[in-house]
């Protein structure tokens, strides 16, 4: 049931992406951007229904997989973009962010939901950790898109190419500020996710730190983004900062992919190491 709703949402995302890209190509037709916003808002609502349906079908276990995390990330990114649009009115950003969200969502809509054997207790307790982590990834993802726009626009401005891209992309100053705020907000979410995760680990794995590859890579990524926030504080900005944002997100995505692609390397998969922990409690 939830997969059908999710596919409907995917079609709406595709429609929004087409409208935003069309607007980018023909900025004189402002209605395209308005229609894109409406399609995205509709997609967001349908997506929310899909997530709700998924929760009621599988008790939220679905979201403890990479596929589920992706579904959640796209939804949060779409929500974040809708909020950003209300604050900044930058429809041309939609032409970069919405297709990115669509590409992330399509594989999840094509595969059936898996629902690993995660105990309901873990689902309840780690819900905040998962949501915060996914929100952080979503915000870093948007920042990545914005940083790409910055680098594109910087090339045009510096290279004196006053063509179509130059006139369509927002100003460097705006993109730089937007990037900074997204990274900062993402960093806050990421920090909360790490803290909650550590508490969850203590409760379920009986140890705050167990050299789980996911823990190690997350801490490294946290340090990377902490450095970025600090550098920004000390005046870093512009091209250098945009490059950092792009590199940061590539490292993040690469690390997540690497950790998940070695089966058994991390307990952040399948039943989250619950079966291994369970016998000691079950056996008399």
């Amino acid at each position: 049931m939830s997969i059908i709703v999710l596919r409907t949402a995917t079609i709406l995302y595709a429609l929004a992406a087409v409208l935003y890209v069309a607007y980018f190509a023909r900025p004189r037709h402002a209605r395209l951007a308005t229609a894109g916003f409406s399609a995205l808002a509709a997609a967001f609502v349908v997506h929310a229904v899909a997530i709700g349906a998924g929760c009621s079908e599988f008790g939220g276990k679905e979201f403890f997989t990479v596929r589920g995390g992706m579904i959640l990330a796209v939804w949060l990114a779409a929500g974040a973009y809708l909020v950003l649009h209300k604050l900044y009115r930058l429809p041309s950003v939609g032409a970069f962010v919405v297709p990115l969200a669509l590409v992330a969502l399509i594989p999840t809509a094509l595969t059936d939901p898996s629902h690993p054997d995660v105990p309901a207790e873990l689902v309840r307790n780690a819900a905040f950790h998962v949501t915060a982590a996914v929100l952080a990834v979503a915000l870093f993802g948007i920042a990545f898109g914005v940083a790409l726009m910055y680098l594109l626009q910087e090339r045009e401005v510096k290279g004196k190419r006053f063509g179509a891209l130059f006139s369509r992309l927002p100003s460097l100053g705006t993109l730089d500020r937007l990037n900074q705020r997204l990274v900062r907000a993402g960093f806050v979410a990421f920090t909360l996710a790490l803290l909650a995760g550590t508490l969850n680990a203590a409760a379920f794995w009986k140890s705050y730190w167990s050299w789980d590859p996911q823990q190690v890579s997350s801490l490294a990524i946290w340090a990377l983004y902490a450095t970025m926030v600090q550098l920004r504080h000390r005046g870093w900005h512009g091209r250098r900062y945009a490059v950092l944002t792009v590199v940061g997100f590539v490292v993040l995505a690469g690390a997540m992919g690497a950790v998940q692609s070695f089966p058994g390397a991390t307990r952040h998969t399948g039943d989250y190491g619950m079966r291994a922990a369970a016998p000691t409690e079950v056996l008399p």
Binding site: R28, Q153, V157, K158, K160, F162, F166, P170, S171, L172, G173, T174, R177, R234, G235, W236, H237, G238, R239, R240
Partner: protein
């Protein structure tokens, strides 16, 4: 009485130097008086004067353009050599092109439509814009709007200072909390600084070698004067630097910029060199987060706009031509309406008279019977006139003036009667205009005929 048509007499930047244009240009009460003077010779004629810094054009809907020509020769005897005169459809086309900014010095500029609208407003206030000029203006305004929305003729940047503004906007967004430095007292620099003021910079600093000129310029652009020797420090303080000095060498070098960027903690800097020979070392652009431009770069943008607009102008011309033809055709179709109206009135009168006669003879008919007889008479009129009505309207729309005239003759309609249509000549958009014109269009007769 001879035929009225549209005449346009004028001179513009294409045909006359500014010395002539400024002598015939008018505004305010003088313009109103001139308009009334234009229609004095001939009752019920109409007049409109478009007077801008680039053109003075007189439009009259009259029997001849004598008054319009006199308008110019009375004011400047040597204007005669620079005048152009158009009539009928050529005058309509010219007016449409002017309103659509196709005849402007900078094709696609936005002001001209407002100026033409204002000219129409003045003519209305002076009471010299009647039914014809009102329709002409409304059509021209609609066409100008179409040209603006359906082509990209208004797009792009047409002046160097505007390019500077656009560039700075693309780099910084807005200039809140930032400072502009104007180095040197060149004219382009001052112009650009004024244009940049719209982006809301916090401070405008002026540095110049000669303090006297610098102080004067600072007062002129509402900036703060700084000594020329402070330049390296000013490069740290200011975010946008406009350089416009008369020096023949680089006054801002890469080393200066590198040092400044270090002190600025790499905050972006925009250097715009408006001087020839260049005052900013081109190598400055190599420094990260420094955006440097010279006059050539700005010039390229303007040239690009000009080129793009030229292309769009071709599309716009086609659009205008179609609208001109539509306007002329509509006027011709309207010219057939009086014949039709007269024909129908005559027929209806006849039908009513015959019905009354018949009813009197029959006598003692009840209400229903009376109504049937009247309806029958009316139906005969409608059916008889159906085909002639359609053919006349079609002929009029095609510009065929003979058929309406023949119809008038055939049916014994007096062609010279005050409300009958004179045969319009090819290329002549309108018979005489008057306040009765508009009311006739809305009369029941006309409404029925056109339904």
């Amino acid at each position: 009485m001879s035929e009225r048509e549209l005449f346009l007499v004028g001179l513009s930047h294409h045909s006359a130097p500014i010395e002539v244009r400024e002598r015939v240009a008018l505004s305010g009460d003088a313009l109103k008086a001139a308009l009334q003077e234009l229609v004095r010779a001939e009752a019920a004629s109409e007049a409109l004067v478009v007077s801008t810094c680039n053109r003075v054009e007189v439009l009259v809907h009259a029997a001849s353009d004598a008054a319009a020509r006199a308008f110019f020769t009375e004011r400047a005897a040597d204007a005669r050599a620079h005048l152009y005169a158009k009539r009928g459809v050529d005058a309509v086309r010219h007016f449409f092109r002017v309103a659509a900014s196709l005849d402007s010095m900078v094709v696609g500029e936005q002001q001209i439509l407002g100026q033409v609208k204002e000219a129409y407003g003045v003519a209305c206030a002076a009471g010299t814009a009647g039914a014809f000029l009102s329709r002409l203006c409304n059509h021209a305004f609609a066409t100008a709007k179409r040209v603006r929305t359906e082509t990209e003729i208004g797009r792009g940047i047409t002046s160097l200072s505007q390019v500077a503004v656009e560039l700075v906007e693309k780099i910084f967004g807005d200039l809140a909390g930032r400072a502009i430095l104007l180095a040197g007292a060149g004219k382009m620099g001052a112009l650009s600084a004024k244009a940049l003021a719209g982006l809301g910079a916090d401070r405008l600093l002026v540095a110049n070698r000669s303090p006297e000129r610098g102080l004067a310029l600072a007062a002129q652009v509402h900036g703060a004067f700084r000594a020329w020797e402070e330049l390296p420090r000013l490069l740290v303080e200011a975010d946008v630097i406009l350089v416009s000095t008369g020096a023949d060498r680089h006054v801002i070098t890469k080393e200066m910029v590198q040092a400044a960027m270090k002190a600025r903690r790499d905050r972006s800097m925009c250097l715009i060199d408006l001087s020839v020979p260049r005052n900013v070392d081109p190598a400055c652009a190599e420094v990260m987060d420094v955006y440097a431009y010279d006059v050539d770069d700005l010039e390229k943008v303007v040239a690009g706009t000009r080129e793009a607009r030229q292309e769009e102008a071709t599309r716009a011309e086609r659009l205008v031509e179609a609208d001109v033809l539509a306007f002329v055709q509509e006027r011709r179709a309207r010219a057939a309406l009086p014949v039709l109206g007269k024909l129908r009135r005559q027929a209806e009168q006849l039908a009513r008279a015959e019905a009354e006669r018949t009813l009197a003879q029959l006598g003692g008919l009840d209400e229903r019977g009376r109504r049937s007889v009247e309806a029958m008479a009316q139906a005969i009129v409608n059916k008889l006139l159906h085909a002639p009505t359609a053919r006349l309207k079609k002929a009029a729309a095609c510009g065929d003036a003979e058929l309406p005239a023949a119809a008038a003759q055939l049916c014994g309609i007096e062609p010279d009667a005050p409300d009958a249509a004179p045969a319009p000549a090819a290329g002549e958009p309108e018979r005489r205009a008057g306040p009765d014109d508009a009311s006739r269009a809305g009369s029941p007769d006309a409404a029925r005929l056109s339904s």
